[in-house]
Amino acid sequence: MDAYLAAIVSVMLIYVLLALGLTLQYGLTGLINFGMVGFFAIGAYTSALLALHGVPVVLSVAAAAVVAGISAWPIGLASLRLRDDYFAIVTLGFAEIVRLTLTSEKWLTNGVQGLSRIPPIYEGTGTAAAFVIVAILLAVTVAAIFLIHRVAHSPFGRIIAAIRDNEEAVQAIGKDPARFKIQVLVVGSALAGIAGALYAHYVTYIVPEQFVALATFYVWMAVIMGGVGRVSGAVVGTAILMFFLEGSRFLGDFLPWISSVQMASIRIGVVGLALVLFTIYRPQGLMGDFTKR
């Protein structure tokens, strides 16, 4: 039971990191990143490959952040000077291309078989090791929360909030919104890269199928349910998401006449329904009093 709890908390903390990245990008700045899972995948594969070639995990995770951040930069250059929804389409496409590349470039990624025996975050077995891993993930998450909080309350944070609320006004006072947006995109993607790296070292086995677009929208569901633009919202929303994901697994065991394939479809449908209902009836999320959209 302790091990199960530790496992749930570990996965939840990794999702919280992703949700924080999206909170920075969408909640605070208004960037519609539909390719979160692409940067997550880049982080996972970068760190896993480096660690498999003998690089210490601390360094490989840092490298994952750098590579994911850098890979976001051209995406921003290509699309952040245009309408917001173009950026959404480009990031959505980017994540699909990342997954295609991971599947096809077998010399690097081992294709659909994926990478196994990735060095874990912390060597050791049993409950004690599981709790050490939770502590490490928690430390990273708290650091990220602190970072986002500091960013939100800095002069930089006021400018990105202004971009979200009225981009023309920011241009009128002589700031270049695209520059700030690209910076936010890079930082948020680096955070997703760290989340991916930690995920790879946590599960120690990754395949391209883990990085489908649905994962991006799990994070969106968490952020939208929790409350857009609030750090507490990212945490609460992720908790609800985990409850839903784990709950649907238990329900699958409990209702034997529903096959696991049908359960996967039902899960997709519930994510869709949540996105629709929250956008229509509670755009500010559960935690939010954030300016209504």
Partner: protein
Amino acid sequence: MSYLVLVQNGIAQGLIIGLAALSITLVFGIARFPNAAAGDMLTFGGYAGLFAFSATHSLLATGLAAIAATALLSLLMYYAVFRRLAGRSAVSLLVASIGVAFMIRAVLGVSFGHGQLVYEIELTRPYIVGGVRVSPLDLKLALIAFVTLAAAFGVLYMTSIGRQMRAVADNSDLARVSGIRPQRVMASLWLLAGALTAIAGVMLGMKTIVAPEIGWEILLPAFAAAIFGGIGSPIGAVAAGLILGVAQELSTPLVGFTYKIAVSFAVMCAVLVFRPRGLFGKAEAVR
């Protein structure tokens, strides 16, 4: 010789992409958001057509049944979701359209499973035209695509409701003060958008397979074509769809089968960097 075969496949693929892109560009131009549910509407049309085809074995009945079912679904989407979000930012509508897309896929997945279904079409002897084998089915599908496109352009450019749609796309406030009823325009828009994706779905299902994910995989090339052609430009969407379809097929000897979609993505990024308004779009629409 083999290139001619690729071009021929590319045209078939391009017509599918073009029909989907036309649906996307109309919604983008008139309702003003990128409809991410277009792919799954297409899948829905593929399934509807499949059942009509196994019941009747008539292409005409298949097309009409798919159009009727998907246009109804599309209208339902408008009344249940998108109409309630009128006046909200494009982001809200975009996120909601993703939600709708997932719901359609979930219903199809639960109802018909994740297995691949196929249209049971009798094999026919291909015509040989200038050394290239052309199957009668491909010709019929191309004919259906052209008839659908002609009908869509007829509605847009030769009827009153089409003129009203284009007026709303041009300037929705001006359209409203000139007495155009937005509700009617929107309902017609969604019926048309649904009909176009339905035919794309039937064509895709007949050329390949029917499975819950087929539409999602065509969504990216369709978005790319809508942007390449210029958002809101119907002729641009179709032309860009054909260009991308042929380019994707011609690229397969160079980059391999899996990277076909990457060609569309690369073209889309290049268009966004160098000519964001696309082939036929208006410059002010993209900023």
